[in-house]
Amino acid sequence: MSSPPQVHLSIGSSVENVELVQLVVEEALNRLDLDPDDAHWVGIAVREAVANAVKHGNRHDPGKRVALDFGVEDGELVIRVCDEGGGFDPEGVDNPLAPENVLKPSGRGIFYMKRFMDEIDYSFGPDGGTVVTMRKHLDSEHLDSASGPSEDQEKEQEEEKG
């Protein structure tokens, strides 16, 4: 049986690479046959998380890595983004809707991540490093279509050729 894609990707810390991660995530989301609008917003949430890992976590140090894990666990889409930075206090982040913040050019990333995913958790390694875990519930419908018969067929046919 075909299983939903479980992808691990790691990149050097440059903003250009955010786009590369995005390509992988879009393709992997396609497989889940998620509603295209939902997929768009999940894509934005990942973009924000990876951008934060590159900018704030690894401070653009190309020698430091950003890792992404994409998978489906117990009917939920689970995406983890890890950096090698010094961490931060998620509770201390300003509310971008507060009147004094509405006109600031930054400070909306985490807000969007929360808005577009069902759950966001931050954890921090003992020696530094930030892990943000983002979850989104999938309809069982999506899981069905991710495990269709197409791959089995191809596998058999490949083996015939063997």
Partner: protein, 112 residues
């Protein structure tokens, strides 16, 4: 993203196309706005009709553009917002901050 600039009836129109996102487009937008202001443009329309994706970085650039324009005594409006751009501005309560018009014609007759 590609951004192209045209002048029409006293307006500077910036046509943005593609993604306004970190690493692909945010900087181009900033430079185009700055160029328009430096050239003395007083009425600037940012046409977002062909923008497929915008993230917090792109939103930040729009906010900066708005602030820069205000500081220079210029008016800046957004036109042709696709639903996804509209939505993301909405949820951070920016639709009330920006002047937003359905299309160029509407913006021009209103800002005339």
């Amino acid at each position: 993203m590609t951004i192209s600039v045209r002048q029409t009836e006293g307006f500077t129109v910036l046509d943005a196309k593609g993604k306004i996102t970190i690493g692909s487009g945010d900087v181009a937008l900033r430079e185009a706005i700055q160029g328009a202001l430096d050239a003395g443009g007083k009425k600037i329309l940012v046409n977002l009709k062909d923008v497929s994706t915008i993230d917090s970085s792109g939103i930040g650039e729009l906010v900066s553009a708005y602030t820069s324009a205000s500081n220079r005594g210029a008016e800046l409006a957004l036109v042709g917002l696709p639903p996804k751009v509209q939505d993301i501005l909405q949820i951070t309560q920016l639709v009330t901050v920006f002047d937003i018009y359905d299309d160029e014609a509407e913006a021009m007759s209103s800002m005339g």
